[in-house]
């Protein structure tokens, strides 16, 4: 095992899979010679050549539309969208085409691909370098959505995603691109899509989080522990289809739940999780589930730390839920 940060782990996964499977093609803006604005694809252009690591014109719709054609042919494209905020010019190709291709062709045309894109706040990016649009893809039936929080999961989930026969949106929490470090298994290593991880076991309050906010949830859990509250913290890892069993089992045990995400609150993933808990564990609920999320405003610049659902906002929610 090697110590890596997220960027290195994702780079390692891409390199491994490109060697193993020559159908894998990386394309996007600045992914080639310069290796991506976050350097996630660094070195791949030199190693695999310009036919497999492709700098494209500045058009997300072109990137994804072309990648769909590649997937229809039988390749495994891994397009990069430079920031999740810039995925919207490709939104039509993603939700109208990619998400529906297998279905509308009666199964004739699977369309496997992994759209990698940095997501979330925490780098002082303001409106357009900070957003978390996961719901805008989950709600469009037909896509899988993944968001790792550790280097090992980033590698393992990326390899699973590239090998998956369905299209996957792979959100990389850029706030922890370099800050999250850890042991990453060398060589072939997969983490299954659709499985959450209990990263802290506890009895009193379930805290559900993912991506960069996982660390905030863990920090909040430690602080809550000082107040005598024992939290179980779940890292969703796959946002859709989510690991409902792990969530429900935890809530059945604790009866209390706090869901955390950076995306705006209304019609966010937290609402879906709360509703699923209502549907599957109603009688176990001992307190109203709580959401600690981004606000329903565009993502701000100067006040970004007030906008984000950081530990200081999660702690009171845990306490309130525990004491309800």
């Amino acid at each position: 095992m090697a110590q890596m940060n997220m960027v290195q782990a994702i780079n390692d996964a891409l390199r491994f899979e490109m060697k193993r499977d020559d159908r894998v093609i990386v394309l996007g803006e600045d992914v080639g010679r310069v290796g991506g604005v976050f350097r996630v694809t660094a070195g791949l252009h030199d190693e695999f050549g310009e036919d497999r690591v492709i700098d494209t014109p500045l058009s997300e719709g072109g990137i994804i539309g072309a990648a769909i054609g590649m997937a229809l042919y039988g390749l495994r494209p891994v397009p990069e969208i430079q920031f999740a905020d810039f995925i919207f010019p490709a939104y039509d190709q993603i939700v109208s085409e990619l998400a529906k291709y297998r279905y509308r062709s009666g199964g004739e045309y699977p369309c496997p691909m992994v759209i990698r894109t940095p997501v979330g706040g925490g780098i002082r990016g303001g409106h357009y370098h900070s957003q978390s649009p996961e719901v805008q893809f989950i709600h469009a039936a037909g896509l899988k959505v993944v968001c790792p929080a550790t280097p090992a999961d980033a590698k393992g989930l990326l390899l699973s995603s590239i090998r998956d026969d369905d299209p996957v949106l792979f959100f990389e929490p850029k706030r922890i691109y370099r800050a999250a470090k850890g042991e990453v298994p060398e060589g072939d290593y997969t983490v299954p899509i659709g499985k959450a991880k209990i990263v802290r076991a506890g009895e009193q309050v379930t805290v559900v989080a993912y991506g960069a906010m996982l660390y905030e949830a863990l920090d909040a859990a430690s602080k809550a522990a000082l107040q005598g509250i024992d939290c179980e913290v779940i890292d969703l890892r796959t946002l859709w289809p989510l690991d409902i069993d792990t969530v429900i089992a935890s809530v059945k045990k604790t009866g209390r739940v706090v869901v955390v995400h950076e995306a705006p609150r209304s019609c966010g993933l937290a609402g879906e999780i709360v509703t699923l808990i209502n549907e599957k564990a109603f009688l176990h609920l001992e307190a109203p589930p709580k959401r600690v999320t981004g606000f329903d405003t565009p993502f701000p610049y100067t006040l970004e730390n007030e906008y984000l659902p950081l530990s200081h906002r999660i702690v009171p929610a845990i306490v309130e839920t525990a004491r309800y």
Binding site: I25, D51, R52, I54, T56, P57, S59, G61, G62, G65, A66, A67, I68, G69, M70, A71, L72, Y73, G74, L75, P77, P89, D92, Q93, S96, E97, K100, Y101, R102, Y103, R104, S105, G106, G107, E108, Y109, P110, A141, G142, K144, D164, D165, D166, G194, P241, I244, D245
Partner: protein, 382 residues
């Protein structure tokens, strides 16, 4: 020479194009009265007869589908009345293994390439044998066996996909070519721009076939763009283009072959603008008389793409009224069989609604499927 082809929307003129556009003038080969203009045809007699049959069959299918819709037996049809030479001539220029990305008026091309007529009508009826499993509207088919992409309503999306496919093929040293169909209206979409730009930069083996039929539903071409033609838009992407008389079967074959050969030879993509005319409403949902006075059609009726090939064949191989009646009868009896069969076939199974969203059913779709099965059945569709 150009004055014989009325400009589609009645206003665009055929002005001079930059030198790097392949042809100075509109490619034409067969006059409206069935006589050859210059060389040609570049087709053997049997090929011409086969293509003519395919055009007649396409028109017959169209007429029947409209009737079925009027009778309430199918929900919708979108056809190619008047555009048969464009659709069939271009597809004919492809060879086996080449890919075809349809817009939505190209069922004739699909049938010619081997999409079974039965499957086509299964699609119109949305029954259990429909390749698309009754999930899409009529005329939204696909057929991987013959490299036929999937028809999708959102305008233009297939153009970019065709670029990606051709690009992938080239990366895999596969010599196939991908042809994408789209209308004049589609040139205004994001996709046209993305597709042609990527194709230009990466020199993908694509043929872009713009069926300029004069209209995007009720919007005439002069409201679609101020450019002097659709072909000239290729200049913006550094790729060559050619205009052809889209009602001239031989011209369409010639122009498309040129483009296909360039693509296959690694010389990159070509944009073809086929000047044709939508003789029907946009679809069975549209009443064109609301925005297009009947007399507008007249010059175009005189340029009927079927008629001129028939006149040519009369002269060339002695094609007779009996021959004509023969293929007509054949097609009608074929139609009867497949329509009976399609209409008899059950709708797709209820559970099929949840299949193919993903390769495997995830838990939430299992739950939703079971919920649906447990519950009462819906009232019959109207």
């Amino acid at each position: 020479m150009t004055t014989e082809v009325p400009s589609p929307a009645g206003t665009a003129t055929l002005r001079r194009k930059p030198e790097d556009v392949l042809a100075e003038d509109v490619v034409r080969a067969l006059s409206p009265d069935g006589t050859l203009l210059g060389d040609g045809p570049d087709l053997r007699d049997e090929e011409i007869v086969a293509l003519y049959r395919a055009m007649v069959r396409t028109r017959a299918v169209d007429e029947r589908a409209v009737l079925l819709q009027r009778q309430g037996r199918i929900g919708f049809h979108i056809g190619s009345l008047g555009e048969e030479a464009t659709v069939l001539g271009s597809a004919f220029a492809l060879r086996d293994g080449d890919w075809l990305f349809p817009c939505y008026r190209e069922f004739g091309a699909a049938l010619m390439r081997g999409f079974p007529l039965q499957r086509y009508f299964d699609n119109l009826f949305g029954n259990a044998n429909d390749v698309a499993k009754g999930r899409q509207m009529p005329d939204h088919w696909c057929y991987r066996d013959k490299q036929l992409g999937s028809v999708s309503s959102p305008i233009g999306t297939q153009i970019t996909q065709a670029v990606g496919l051709a690009w992938a093929a080239r990366l895999r040293r596969d010599s196939c070519v991908a042809l994408a169909y789209f209308g004049d209206g589609a040139t205004s979409s994001n996709e046209f721009h993305n597709a042609l730009n990527f194709a230009g930069v990466f020199r993908t083996p694509n043929v872009f076939l713009c069926r300029n039929n004069g209209w995007a539903i009720s919007v005439p071409t002069e409201v679609q763009t101020a450019s002097e033609s659709f072909a000239i838009k290729a200049v913006a992407y550094g790729i060559p283009s050619v205009r052809c008389d889209g009602n001239d079967l031989f011209a369409v074959v010639r122009a498309t072959r040129l483009a296909v050969e360039r693509a296959r030879a690694g010389e990159g993509p070509t944009l073809i603008e086929a000047l044709t005319y939508r003789l029907s409403g946009h679809s069975t949902s549209d009443d064109a008389s609301r925005y297009r006075p009947e007399p507008t059609l007249e010059p175009w009726l005189a340029l009927d793409p079927l008629r001129r090939v028939r006149l040519f064949l009369q002269d060339r191989v002695g094609w007779s009224d009996a021959d004509e009646a023969g293929i007509g009868a054949e097609i009608q009896s074929e139609l009867k069989l497949v329509i009976d069969e399609a209409e008899r076939t059950a709708p797709p199974a209820l559970t099929s609604m949840f299949d193919d969203v993903y390769a495997e059913l995830p838990w939430h779709l299992v739950e939703q499927r079971d919920e649906l099965l447990r519950g009462p059945r819906a009232p019959k569709a109207h």
